[in-house]
């Protein structure tokens, strides 16, 4: 019975003194603290199942998924994070990629807390640190020009000024 009392005490105390949300706005934090426990469950978007090809239980997997799909399109989504595919998939929902009709809001076995949605929105607005590009690709488009992709998934040095547009790591 003593452990039950402890449980009640710890649960009750957990909601008492809280700081403002100063959590890191980084892909690594968002993946490990938010996406992995809610989206990266075994039977969903884990490395194990990779449902519809998306992975959210590792930083590398989440980066690839977000950039490749793309769930965030920079720099457009930085200006309007609520328009990103990632934001919409966890709020209003998006058309199913498995052929079902209607919008599907993720995670669909349990909602995501609002504070996590706000953090993801703020992270996108700050430039989606860590999920700007895929390092293995070498180069990336920062919206207009060709840039290097750093090892931690961010835009690096300018490689080439594109006279036209830039897409998929190539000046067009």
């Amino acid at each position: 019975m003593r452990s039950l009392a402890w449980l009640a005490l710890v649960i009750a105390s957990a909601g008492c003194t809280r700081d403002a949300d100063d959590r890191p706005k980084t892909l690594a934090y968002i993946t490990e603290a938010i996406l992995a426990p809610t989206c990266g469950k075994a039977e969903c978007h884990s490395t194990f199942a990779q449902t519809v090809g998306d992975v959210f239980d590792t930083v590398v997997g989440a980066r690839y998924t977000i950039v490749h799909d793309p769930l965030i399109s920079l720099p457009a989504d930085q200006m309007a994070p609520t328009g990103s595919q990632l934001y919409q998939s966890i709020t209003t929902g998006l058309p199913s990629r498995q052929g079902l009709s209607g919008l599907v809001r993720m995670p669909y076995d349990a909602p995501m807390p609002n504070e996590d949605i706000y953090l993801i929105e703020a992270w996108i607005a700050a430039g989606a640190e860590g999920a700007q590009c895929i390092p293995d690709n070498g180069f990336a488009c920062d919206g207009k020009d060709l840039v290097a992709c750093t090892a931690d998934g961010n835009f690096g040095e300018l490689q080439m000024t594109c006279s036209g547009s830039c897409s998929n790591g190539v000046c067009l």
């Binding site: 019975m1 003593r2 452990s3 039950l4 402890w6 449980l7 710890v10 649960i11 957990a14 909601g15 809280r18 700081d19 949300d21 959590r23 890191p24 980084t26 892909l27 690594a28 934090y29 993946t31 490990e32 603290a33 938010i34 426990p37 469950k41 075994a42 039977e43 969903c44 884990s46 490395t47 194990f48 199942a49 990779q50 449902t51 519809v52 090809g53 239980d57 590792t58 930083v59 590398v60 498995q98 052929g99 079902l100 009709s101 209607g102 599907v104 809001r105 995670p107 669909y108 076995d109 349990a110 909602p111 995501m112 807390p113 609002n114 504070e115 996590d116 949605i117 860590g130 931690d152």
Partner: protein, 392 residues
């Protein structure tokens, strides 16, 4: 979660799509569950009292099969395939099938049907040694479906000091779930889902375990599965000890250290169980604090707890009421989520069980703050599902 999902309220369902989706779901999303820790103290002192495995789950031993028959409403032969297939004394076979269907709210409304488990178990005993193998369906890996529909979730070699006994020293090596915490059957229980023993969280490892009627201790060293893309990415160690000072009480302590490429996780917690004989109620609880040290910066401390009360209305009807709490970062407001679970079990036959699973889940204790600049935690969700469980 690869489920068959139907939108609620669709006036005309696209039948072909639904059929295809149901078939696809049936063959793609097996989910193992285990037997019930609710029986411990209330029906037997230890997991190994009813199971071949000292950690519980999987194959029943002779006592476990007798219990399955005694508690079922319409008892039938509890042995593997109703004892119609004679087995040599050194071999035990079994298996479990589980399917579930019902309603989800997340906060959208869905109807869903999906399989939970389709496993076959085998245990071969050679004096003090046993080989355990579990083979079954798993959710296939996207892009590699042909090679990933079937797998062996568990396979290990076990040695026990007192062959044939439920007690003593056990040493295991192979692929299995590290023993940690209450080990509740439902993988959606918070202390499993968020507490370090998720669905398909089995790892390769070695365990030293000592089980006596009055206490038990388990120490497991583990590494993530290097042969497949695993669920559990950690390497580490887990420890669990449980002391039963009386026939109806148990207290336990748990600790786990896990290291992955992205983070180091340190978990510590307590468990408690008490059986109230007169109302026939078993109460068990687990509370766990975990510190996640992220390599890229940040170290959220999570709190997870689960309180479960189980009552037997008769030998064949068991009601579980569970309260779960999970806070993904105890420093931040409105992140805590809580659930109320209500699961009603009907042990209809020795081999057949029906379960009604229900959950209501809410954030921030359901606070609805009138101030639009400080919104409440999030939408309320839940489910109501009917589960069919058949044991071979």
């Amino acid at each position: 979660m690869q489920r068959v999902v139907l939108e609620r309220g669709l006036p005309v369902i696209k039948h072909a799509l639904v059929v295809i989706a149901i078939v696809a779901g049936l063959v793609t999303a097996a989910k193992p569950a285990h037997a019930y820790p609710q029986f411990q103290l209330a029906r037997d002192a230890t997991c190994s009292g009813c199971h071949v495995n000292p950690a519980g789950g999987g194959l029943l031993n002779e006592n476990g099969m007798a219990a399955a028959e005694a508690m079922s409403q319409f008892g039938d032969p509890p042995e593997f395939m109703y004892n119609k297939i004679p087995l040599p004394s050194w071999l035990e076979l079994g298996g479990e099938l589980r399917n579930i269907a019902g309603y989800f709210k997340s906060p959208q409304d869905y109807l869903a049907l999906f399989p939970m488990q389709a496993d076959v178990y085998a245990a071969a005993t050679f004096k003090a040694f046993q080989i355990h193998v579990t083979v079954g369906y798993r959710p296939p890996e996207y892009g590699n479906e042909a090679a990933t529909y079937v797998w062996s979730r568990e396979h290990y070699l076990q040695w026990q000091s007192d062959a044939g006994s439920n007690e003593g020293l056990f040493i295991r090596a192979g692929r299995f779930m590290p023993v940690f915490g209450l080990r509740l059957a439902e993988h959606v229980d918070y202390t499993r889902q968020y507490g370090g023993t998720p669905l398909y969280g089995e790892t390769y490892g070695a365990a030293v375990e000592y089980v006596k009627e009055g206490y038990e201790a388990h120490l497991t060293g583990f590494v993530h599965d290097p042969l497949i893309d695993p669920v559990n990415h950690d390497n580490g160690a887990a420890a669990y000890v449980e002391w039963r000072p009386t026939k109806h009480a148990a207290i336990g302590a748990e600790g786990l250290v896990g290291v992955s490429k992205d983070e180091k996780t340190y978990r510590g917690g307590l468990t408690g169980k008490y059986y109230f004989a007169s109302p026939d109620v078993l109460v068990q609880a687990e509370v766990q604090l975990a510190n996640h040290v992220l390599d890229a910066g940040g170290a959220p401390t999570t709190l997870v707890g689960y309180l479960l009360a189980s009552h037997w209305f008769s030998s064949s009807i068991m009601l579980d009421i569970g309260l779960g709490h999970y806070d993904e970062d105890i420093r931040v407001r409105n992140l805590e989520r809580d659930c109320i679970d209500l699961n009603l079990h009907w042990f209809m036959l020795s081999h057949l069980e029906l379960i009604l699973n229900n959950r209501v889940e809410l954030f921030a204790f359901g606070r609805t703050n009138g101030n639009p600049t400080e919104p409440s935690g999030g939408p309320t969700g839940g489910w109501s599902l009917l589960q069919l469980h058949y044991r071979l």
